[in-house]
């Protein structure tokens, strides 16, 4: 589609969208109003009967825990799909670590100093999901991104050795399975899948909210492992694997015909690639 066609399409679609969007927004309760029938009930249940100080966690992991199960498996499925897509192609091979262009000593120091801090923050956020903003998902992501400060500090091999993909895959699966297992335990103990069957404890205690902290822990393990696994797939592609001129001997898939996409990469340059090569070399 050329530029002109795109502009015409935009000119046609934009007014239609604007009108429909305006009509839809007019139907919403006005911003900042006092009328919140769902929130009134959810907050009352969370702070009263279930003793979960963080109402958002109570909704996510107790009142609407099945939705979160679905989200957990969306993440699980998309990470598995990405890992499959990022596996080494037949004509790619481990070309050794690309020489890092020298990490500034200050960057290295910042990485080392912030690594324990961010790991601690991640664990704290997971453990306090039932009390304060955060929980398994947020804490897991903080843990996973903090972990990559090792890469920022120029220690890719250490990062790789400390968390091999097999261990991460097992951890992700255990996290996802634990969520389901807690749900099944609720079915056995409380008569409904993912029902909050544990004693809820007293309001604002670290061990309150019944199954909420347990589910947060399961999600924390699954999410942290999933994000590290996801980034390790990208890192391996960017830092270690390189396309060789000829397919390796013995890889029957590669010798017959080139994969779709591989010819694009070698023959015609992508738009804007000239600048990105410079950027890559500078780093």
């Amino acid at each position: 589609m050329n530029r002109r066609a795109r502009l015409v399409l935009f000119a046609v679609v934009a007014p239609v969208f604007a009108v429909l969007f305006f009509l839809a927004v007019r139907g919403l309760p006005s911003f900042g109003s006092e009328f919140h029938p769902y929130a009134d009930r959810a907050v009352a249940v969370a702070t009263g009967q279930r003793a979960t100080a963080n109402v958002v966690s109570s909704v996510n992991f107790d009142q609407r825990a099945v939705d979160t199960l679905g989200e957990e498996f969306i993440l699980f499925g998309s990470v598995v799909g990405t890992i499959v897509l990022l596996r080494p192609a037949p004509e790619e091979r481990d070309a050794g670590l690309r020489p890092a262009g020298g990490v500034l000593p200050t960057t290295r120091l910042a990485g080392y100093l912030l690594l324990p801090v961010s790991v601690l923050v991640g664990l704290y956020v997971i453990a306090h999901g039932q009390l304060s903003p955060g929980g398994g998902f947020q804490g897991g992501v903080v843990l996973a991104t903090g972990w990559h400060l090792l890469y920022v500090a120029g220690r890719y091999t250490a990062l790789r050795r400390a968390a091999p993909p097999t261990v991460l895959e097992i951890a992700e699966s255990i996290g996802a399975a634990a969520y389901t297992a807690i749900g099944l335990a609720g079915l056995v103990m409380g008569g409904a899948f993912l029902t909050n069957f544990l004693p809820t404890g007293s309001f604002n205690d670290l061990l309150s909210g019944g199954t909420v902290p347990l589910l947060n822990g399961a999600v924390g393990v699954a999410v942290a492992a999933a994000i590290v696994l996801l980034l390790s797939g990208f890192l391996e592609q960017a830092v270690v694997l390189r396309r060789t001129e000829e397919p390796l001997a013995g890889s029957s898939i590669g010798t017959e015909e080139p994969l779709a996409g591989s010819s694009i990469g070698t023959e015609e340059p992508l738009a804007g690639s000239s600048t990105t090569v410079d950027d890559a070399e500078q780093r």
């Binding site: 998902f137 992501v141 991104t145 980034l231 990208f234 960017a238 830092v239 992508l270 990105t276 090569v277």
Partner: protein
């Protein structure tokens, strides 16, 4: 409070436009990260700290990093 929300919304509009107007993908990853940060501020002002925390970690760190690594891979294969 209303003023803070309006301010944060304005920031999101400005940085979002910046992302759309950035031409080179490698620089776009950086502006996208700034855009993610302003979104996190907006979520804070509308009292959604849980979402802000997710947005901060995913939108300002993980996604730009994935884009940078992809650009390095695509640019470095030739």
């Amino acid at each position: 409070m209303m003023l803070l929300i309006a301010l944060a919304l304005g920031l999101v509009a400005v940085t979002g436009t910046m992302v759309a107007l950035t031409q080179q993908p490698a620089r776009q990853a950086v502006t996208l990260s700034v855009f993610g940060l302003t979104l996190a501020i907006l979520f804070m002002t509308v009292q959604a700290p849980d979402v802000a925390l997710s947005q901060l970690a995913i939108g300002t760190a993980v996604v730009p990093l994935m884009i940078m690594l992809t650009i390095q891979k695509v640019g470095g294969s030739r």
